[in-house]
């Protein structure tokens, strides 16, 4: 029977990234995917004829350019098309657009506040400073501050040096930034609700925190630290949908003879002699390998696939306490034509930007309150994109694909489990909200896919439907991600590794966790810990 050098459980983008790096290093690798499609939450699906849905993740910025280059992803079909910025539509038909051109953005902000027009520059500079500080840490294994190993000490010294390079005031700012709330951070710069509301969106997407929760400022940074062609903070569409990223990663892996098997559900990790040695599939097949690499979130890996008798109680507690709260839902809509918005910016921003419905910080906090009460937000935050505007391959000519990301949506409702009736009521809330800024939306809908966090958990396998595979708060970042003591991609058993977004540096279609995990696994091969 064939024994692989590495078995990757789950063909999410991080699993595929890890597999590609391992295969490229000459290892024999197999990726086992439960679903018929690869990509996890980075997928393109044709759920209505002629339309391509980026049915989960929908825009790209965080995917590390080092990985795109390193794995030669453009050669396997990856193209990222940058878009302009954000168009916030206010209830009265006014709007606030942000453009790639700073003069235009300034003039736009000026219509809302004299101070904010200028403060926007100050704010962007500060966020850029924070990004510059964190960026080099994305593709490094977080050093463990409690360890005396050479690698850890070296890593800590490097981080200390980096910190020492900052000015005194910047050091304070870094520490403040990582712990403060997004609302407090924005209040330091801005006075206009439109400006604050627009920027606050980035601090709540995907997280079960409100804009006034401490730690939410970091979420904003997490959405800003990506780049498109060196333009930090810019976002774009993967041509052909987010599945194009997964397909390119798979292409890169397969070019080095990596096997990718779909409809191959892993039901258990096989442990022998205290080591992970293989996996058992749902159909009874057993696959053996040297390194067992899980792309799944820790709750699934350790509470569902791992026979619990191999784990000690302290570790199980850590897994159970891991915060992975679902907070967002999504509508994927096939449109019969171009949706008309009530705002008419001089530059056709709906085509070039993501679109938000205006929400004040207070609105967002109220929306979060609904979530806490076990309800989807009655006045949700919507992040709308129409990828077919810049990428005509996403829909038939004259028709459009619209992705509507919805925050906040709980995985468990207070009045019982998610069902078709609730899903439909949820969709009504979203469409009603959407109709406030896009009156002809109902007439255009050809098909609609509605996804609650519950659906995300059951289809894609993200526990509670958390898009980041675990909250991005300081207690679960860096050497704390996913848990203290296990932040270097190695699990509690020998030969068991983690490579999903639950590991450093976290969620988003970034690829960095997968690349970092592969690097650690290859290190263990080299040290003959794995053989």
């Amino acid at each position: 029977m064939k024994r692989y050098d590495a078995i990757v459980i789950g063909a999410g983008h991080n699993g595929l990234t890890a597999a590609a790096y391992l295969a490229r290093a000459g290892k024999s690798v197999v990726v086992l995917e439960r679903r018929p499609v690869i990509g996890g939450a980075a997928v393109s699906e044709e759920l209505y004829p002629g339309f391509t849905y980026s049915s989960c993740s929908y825009v790209s910025s965080l995917m590390r350019p080092e990985i795109m280059r390193g794995l030669d992803l453009p050669r396997y079909g990856l193209q990222i098309i940058p878009y302009e910025g954000i168009l916030t539509i206010l209830p009265d038909g006014d709007y606030l657009a942000s453009y790639s051109d700073p003069d235009l953005t300034r003039r736009e902000n000026l219509r809302h506040s004299k101070r904010d027009a200028e403060a926007f520059g100050r704010f962007s500079l500060e966020v850029l400073r924070q990004c510059r500080f964190i960026k080099p840490m994305l593709l490094m294994t977080p050093p463990d501050p409690t360890s005396f190993k050479l690698d850890d000490i070296r890593g800590l010294i490097w981080m200390g040096r980096k910190f020492a390079d900052l000015s005194e005031r910047q050091m304070y700012d870094v520490m403040r930034f990582w712990t403060m709330s997004c609302a407090d951070f924005l209040d330091e710069y801005f006075e206009s609700e439109a400006v604050k509301g627009q920027l606050a969106g980035s601090s709540i997407i995907g997280t079960a925190l409100g804009p006034r929760s401490p730690g939410s400022a970091y979420i904003l940074l997490h959405h800003y630290m990506g780049e498109v062609d060196g333009d930090i903070g810019a976002w774009g569409y993967a041509r052909g949908g987010m599945g194009a990223i997964s397909r390119a990663l798979a292409g890169a892996a397969q070019a080095h003879d990596c096997e990718i098997r779909t409809e191959a559900e892993v039901s258990q990790i096989i442990v022998k002699g205290g080591k992970a040695v293989g996996v058992a599939l749902a159909d009874g097949e057993e696959v053996y390998g040297t390194a067992i690499v899980s792309n799944l979130d820790p709750k699934r890996t350790f509470l569902k696939l791992m026979p619990l008798e191999h784990l000690d109680d302290t570790f199980i507690d850590q897994v159970r306490n891991f915060k992975i709260r679902g907070s967002s839902g999504k509508l994927n809509i096939a449109l019969d034509g171009w949706p008309e918005f009530i705002a008419k910016p001089p530059i056709p921003a709906p085509l070039y930007s993501s679109i938000q419905i205006h929400r004040t910080l207070d609105d967002l906090e109220r929306a979060y309150d609904d979530w806490k009460n076990g309800m989807w937000s009655r006045h949700p935050y919507l992040d709308i994109v129409i990828p077919s505007g810049l990428d005509p391959t996403m829909a038939p000519p004259g028709k459009h694909y619209m992705s509507v990301f919805v925050q906040y949506v709980p995985p468990k409702l207070k009045d019982g489990p998610w069902d078709d009736a609730k899903r439909s009521a949820f969709a009504d809330t979203v469409i009603d909200t959407l109709a406030e800024i896009c009156p002809n939306i109902r007439d255009l809908i050809l098909h609609m896919q509605v996804r609650s966090p519950w659906d995300l958990e059951n289809e894609v396998g993200l526990t509670e439907g958390n898009i980041f595979q675990g909250e991005l708060t300081l207690d679960q970042l860096m050497f704390n991600r996913p848990f203290p003591g296990y932040a270097q991609y190695r699990g509690p058993l020998r030969r068991l590794y983690m490579c999903g977004s639950c590991t450093h540096p976290g969620g988003g279609v970034m690829g960095a966790p997968g690349a970092n995990a592969a690097r650690e696994i290859l290190k263990d091969f080299k040290r003959r810990i794995l053989r």
């Binding site: 300034r106 200028e118 403060a119 500079l125 910047q170 034509g337 530059i347 056709p348 505007g389």
Partner: protein, 389 residues
């Protein structure tokens, strides 16, 4: 669907209807969100018009603030490093302002229109900074950029043009003086200021009367070779005049991403603008401390370089050690010298230092490296007596 970008992407200045038909070169640039002519026909022709006759430059995109109120003078004195007491009403002052660490935010001009009525002219937006500085003071700060169209009339014959225009008393106007006139019933503010280092004036009028002013000036200047000029020619004369420009010779403290790029006035040769004897101003403590420690690490200097190849973006060496870099450089047609403004480490910012510039010069698509000896010289490089006379 497929909507095109149809809006006015860049704004047009009040003189656009006059300048656009004259812009034969098709060379336009961007300035503070406006379309701005880079060169009308020939940079050389425009350059020589400034130095030998008279030139007209549309400086409307410049950012202007009006500061009024009981505490306006106190505000300005808290903002700038110079003493505003030295500037009576009806006069202007070249000034700079710093952040709390004594790092330069910008340099610009202040016009004292009345005891407590000021106009501050800047290249960058400063509204937030000014408002923050005004905290607790009884002042109103307004961005009046779009309330004035502005032209720079510069050159040795500029005074004759204004005399011909009928501005009586213009010959008596002192350097950095201000005067009000009425032209075709429109109030016209004239300041004897400029960015050319030559005799010259700046004219400020309401935007609705901008084309009238342009037409009247062009008619008055007909016999004096009054020539519209673009930003390229202005860039040449401002380097000759040794004037520094934000974004080229330094990065403003509010715009600097890297802490190490911020500069103090002492580093930029603006020490003469810092009055440590006057009452508190923003950055005073830090600047006093910097002076006490013997000055900062860097110095902005003028360089004369051998040969005739402009030392654009060159590194400056002493022996084999890199000691600085050029921020602005040109061949000066008036001085017949190869000049540059450069930032050097303080110990080498002296005429005695034995320096050389590494110049990469393209020659028919092939880039040649030239090591040209250079020496530190006084700025301004060119300073005709008529500038202040």
């Amino acid at each position: 669907m497929s909507e095109a970008i149809t809006s006015d992407f860049l704004m047009k200045t009040p003189f656009h209807a006059r300048t656009a038909p004259l812009c034969l070169s098709g060379k336009w640039g961007r300035w503070a969100g406006y379309s701005s002519v880079d060169c009308f026909y020939s940079v050389t022709e425009e350059y020589f018009a400034v130095r030998t006759a008279a030139s007209l430059f549309d400086m409307s995109p410049m950012i202007k603030y009006r500061v009024t109120g009981r505490d306006a003078a106190r505000f300005v004195n808290r903002l700038i490093t110079r003493d505003i007491g030295a500037c009576p009403p009806g006069h202007g002052l070249y000034v700079c302002w710093c952040d709390g660490d004594g790092k330069l935010i910008e340099d610009g001009t202040v016009f004292r229109l009345a005891e407590n009525d000021f106009q501050i002219n800047t290249a960058e937006h400063n509204f937030c900074w000014f408002e923050d500085t005004a905290l607790g003071l009884d002042v109103t700060i307004a961005d009046v950029s779009e309330e004035f169209a502005a032209l720079a009339l510069q050159g040795p014959l500029s005074r004759l043009v204004l005399e011909r225009l009928g501005l009586t008393g213009i010959e008596a106007m002192p350097y950095f003086g201000l005067a009000w006139f009425t032209l075709d019933e429109a109030p016209l503010l004239v300041s004897r200021t400029g960015f050319t280092g030559d005799l010259g004036y700046e004219l400020w009028i309401e935007p609705g009367r901008a084309e009238m002013l342009w037409d009247r000036l062009m008619a008055a200047g007909k016999d004096y070779r009054l020539t519209p000029i673009g930003a390229a020619a202005l860039e040449m004369v401002r380097i000759e005049a040794g004037l520094i420009e934000i974004g080229f010779d330094y990065i403003g403290a509010e715009a600097a991403l890297r802490e190490s790029r911020k500069r103090s006035p002492y580093e930029l040769g603006l020490g003469w603008l810092v009055d440590l004897k006057k009452s508190y101003f923003v950055g005073k403590r830090a600047l006093a401390e910097e002076k006490r420690r013997g000055g900062p690490r860097w110095r902005l200097v003028g360089l004369e370089i051998e040969g005739n190849k402009p030392a654009i973006e060159s590194f400056i060496y002493r022996g084999r050690t890199e000691v600085g870099h050029v921020t602005s450089a040109m061949w000066s047609p008036t001085l017949k010298k190869n000049i540059a403004i450069a930032v050097l480490e303080a110990p080498y910012a002296t005429p005695k230092a034995d320096l050389w510039a590494e110049i990469w010069h393209p020659r028919e698509l092939e880039i040649r490296k030239i090591n040209a000896p250079c020496r530190v010289v006084r700025r301004p490089f060119y300073d005709p007596p008529r500038r202040k006379a």
